[in-house]
Subunit: 102 residues, 2 copies
């Protein structure tokens, strides 16, 4: 399996962010071909030192990195990536990797 | 469910890091009480812009944030956290959050 971890840093208006994310962005992102599972953080994102500066984490599951590539370069994937610019006012970090259980 | 996402930035000696991580650290971390699942990235950790600066991502699954707190403050959790300082020569970022499927 592969994961895409999307870390949204604290936006200018967190409640406007949340409203847009769940009403508009999530339905767009769910259409990405090959997306097997879509998880989001609920409540505060903490770090051991205290506040993390991250407002929301989304974890997208795909079969493998090839499927991630196909998904993100599809029309639906391009629409989801383009939409991020409309609400991620605090910036966003994205990590993509194959993973395995240990 | 809750997740602890541990992002190890590129260490000074990546092959020494890998050897220590899988032979020594992973067996220590697996003993943390309440750990339900333990996943690690396999191969390169990418970002949309290219190299991510992250060498390895570990995702630890717990029932909820209360279980994360109990796990990390247990003797086994403290041992795992203390061990990180022995090999994470590039630094580490940790995010902890409850999550849900959307």
């Amino acid at each position: 399996m592969a994961r895409v971890v999307v870390m949204y840093k604290t936006p200018k208006d967190p409640s406007a962010f949340d409203q847009y994310y769940f009403a508009t962005h999530a339905p767009i992102a769910r259409r990405i071909p090959g997306l097997r599972k879509y998880e989001v953080s609920q409540g505060a994102v903490a770090s051991p030192a205290g506040p993390s500066g991250v407002h929301l984490v989304a974890v997208l599951h795909f079969d493998d990195m090839a499927a991630v590539g196909r998904g993100l370069t599809s029309d639906e994937g391009k629409a989801a990536v383009a939409d991020v610019g409309k609400f991620a006012t605090g910036g966003v970090d994205i990590l993509m990797f194959d993973n395995r259980e240990v």
